[in-house]
């Protein structure tokens, strides 16, 4: 007789604390990383000078500026972007019951990119216009995909993926037109650089919008994580277990598209995170979303912080973080595929 554990709840209860410590270490590490040297003692001095009654010595002023207005918002944004993209990826994979799905499947990123390119080409150089256009077109793209899927309204899951492909190619074509007609010395490079995601432009103002949205989305996904298990069984099963899969799917798609659109609008396209982080989390703790969603959140933040730290410190001139994530993401994904062979899922 094989002994069976009473209920196989948490597979590895130590994973979460370990990841939390790793995240904290990386966060402080990436506050220090970069061309402009700031030491730990300087950070302590700067932070304590913010408290009432303490003053900062004159020679730390430039350190303070870099730390408070560039590094800190950037690191917080890296955490937000990493968690937002990876959790959206996990939710999309559960909803579409497909391991190859990433949050761009419904055309969010393509829409955002087109919007941004349009914003760059339009007269006036307000950066807010570019962001607003990117965000708006991202949501338009998703609504188009969902709308087309609703019109067809059979086999909802597969049709939605196909509708996503339609919208994605459409916006890519539009983007190509814009690139073709843009000024090759000025506008074309900025479009290309915009598409390579980067966190260099991040300011506190971006965080005031992104952070609350990301946190609300994360909270919602955390609360509904057991329901994701049920949705991944398919519509008939979910319905007979007392859920309305259509309403849930629409809500989850809208919330995660909102998060992704906001991310792409502020930082450009950062590939692979939404695809590989959920796979990593599943490899670590199994596919049950109760355990897997919190791990995805932590891993996403860790991966993004590490990638952004690398992007800042590898070469003298900073490289876009999107390149780092793509470069590391692809081989990691191949390794995960190899590791998970024979799970009956791949």
């Amino acid at each position: 007789m094989i002994a069976i554990p009473r209920y196989p709840l948490k597979k590895s209860p130590r994973t979460i604390p370990v990841l939390c410590v790793l995240l904290a270490v990386l966060f402080f590490g990436s506050l220090l990383a970069g061309r402009f040297k700031i030491t730990i003692s300087e950070i302590i001095a700067i932070v304590s000078s913010l408290l009432p009654g303490n003053s900062l010595s004159q020679d730390l002023i430039s350190q303070k500026l870099v730390f408070l207005w560039i590094r800190l918002p950037r690191c917080i944004m890296a955490v937000m972007v990493g968690t937002g993209l990876s959790v959206s990826g996990a939710v999309y994979q559960a909803l579409f019951r497909n391991p190859l799905v990433s949050p761009d499947i419904l055309g969010v990123a393509a829409g955002c990119t087109f919007g941004a390119a349009l914003g760059i080409i339009l007269p006036g150089d307000s950066f807010y216009l570019v962001q607003a256009m990117a965000f708006g077109f991202g949501l338009i793209a998703v609504s188009m995909a969902v709308g087309i899927a609703r019109l067809i309204s059979i086999k909802p899951v597969i049709v939605m993926v196909l509708a996503g492909m339609v919208v994605l190619s459409f916006f890519n074509a539009l983007l190509m037109i814009l690139k073709y007609f843009s000024d090759p010395y000025d506008e074309l490079p900025s479009i290309v650089f915009w598409i390579m995601g980067s966190l260099t432009r991040v300011t506190w103002n971006d965080l005031y919008i992104t952070a609350p949205v990301t946190c609300c989305g994360l909270g919602l996904f955390m609360l509904l994580r057991f329901r994701l298990n049920i949705l991944s069984l398919g519509d008939v099963q979910a319905q007979s277990l007392g859920m309305n899969p259509f309403v849930f799917r629409l809500m989850l798609i809208l919330v995660s598209s909102f998060m992704v659109a906001l991310t792409v609008a502020t930082c450009g396209q950062i590939c692979w995170i939404g695809l590989i982080i959920p796979h990593m989390a599943r490899t670590l703790v199994g596919p049950e979303h109760e355990n897997m969603i919190p791990i995805t959140v932590l891993l996403g933040a860790i991966f993004m912080l590490a990638a952004d730290g690398l992007a800042r410190s590898v070469t003298a001139a900073e490289i876009p973080v999107g390149i780092i994530t793509a470069l590391t993401g692809a081989p990691i994904f191949a390794f995960l595929l190899y590791k998970n062979r024979g799970s009956g899922w791949l």
Binding site: I2, I4, P5, R6, Y7, P8, L9, A94, R97, L223, L224, R225, F226, R227, N229, I230, S232, L233, G234, V236, Q237, Q239, S240, L241, G242, M243, N244, R282, G286, P287, E288, E290, G342, S343, G344, W345
Partner: protein, 262 residues
């Protein structure tokens, strides 16, 4: 809990075609009702109407005399469970994690299953002599074991009314009998009303108490199994010529005549 299921004058259509037309029958607590019919006769649609996945255009479904129109999906799910015909490929969940999903209608929308829910799931697996499956990967067990796991999931959900869509599909010869006798035992021990769509009329003769014969969305015969399972009815249902073969004093199996007389 003994719960009676009634289906009153149900008509359901996709577009303009009637899939089900004026279907009425009822299932008493503790009885096993087999729905027989050819491919595409509307068996699955009927089961989906019974638990409210499809809304009938006319007629209604009643549980213990109360109509399910106006009940929430969750309220229905607490009384009616369904084992679907096809099990889609899913994440490599452990069997116990699939079974515990049967507790979904009883867990708050934003909650995760408690240790107690896992105990109930384990108990359901024990009832089906399948506790050894608990920690197996759901995608890596055999079709028969998967069927058992889904049955356990339905059992955790509710044993008031269970709808089984071709429960013996994909099962080997021995497992078919094993599974159906298990279902029959549950049905009697827990006063469960079982409605199962089936392909093999001989299986229905062995296990079912009542029969509903559906042909092109209409009922052509219904009632206690011994009365309904006659040569004329079966011939009409399957549009073939069968020969009764005596298997005991009171029971006959039906096999296609041309095969036997060769």
């Amino acid at each position: 809990m003994a719960v009676k299921l009634e289906c009153r004058c149900v008509t359901f259509r996709y577009g303009k075609t009637d899939i089900l037309h004026d279907i009425s029958f009822s299932v008493e607590p503790g009885s096993f009702c087999a729905v027989l019919g050819r491919n595409g006769s509307g068996k699955t649609t009927l089961l989906h109407c019974l638990n409210g996945i499809h809304k009938p255009h006319q007629g209604e479904i009643r549980i213990n005399g109360n109509t399910i129109v106006g009940m929430t999906r969750n309220q229905i799910a607490r009384h009616i469970s369904l084992v679907p015909q096809e099990h889609l490929e899913i994440f490599p969940f452990k069997v116990i994690d699939v079974v515990v999903m049967g507790r979904a209608p009883f867990i708050g929308m934003t909650r995760t299953p408690s240790p107690n829910d896992y105990d109930l799931a384990m108990e359901a697996l024990k009832t089906l002599n399948a506790q050894r499956l608990a920690t197996c990967n759901f995608n890596r067990i055999s079709g028969g074991e998967r069927q058992i796991a889904m049955l356990a999931c339905a059992l955790v959900q509710t044993s008031d009314i269970m709808l089984l869509d071709e429960p013996t599909n994909h099962l080997d010869f021995n497992n078919q009998y094993h599974l159906l006798s298990k279902i029959k035992q549950l049905c009697q021990a827990r006063k469960t009303s079982v409605i199962a769509s089936m392909h093999d009329p001989n299986m229905a003769i062995l296990f079912a108490d009542t029969i509903v014969m559906v042909k092109a969305g209409k009922i052509i015969a219904r009632g206690p199994a011994p009365e309904v399972m006659t040569k004329p009815n079966i011939d009409a249902l399957y549009e073939t010529d069968t020969t009764p073969v005596k298997i005991s004093k009171t029971q006959h199996f039906f096999l296609p005549g041309e095969i036997i007389n060769g």
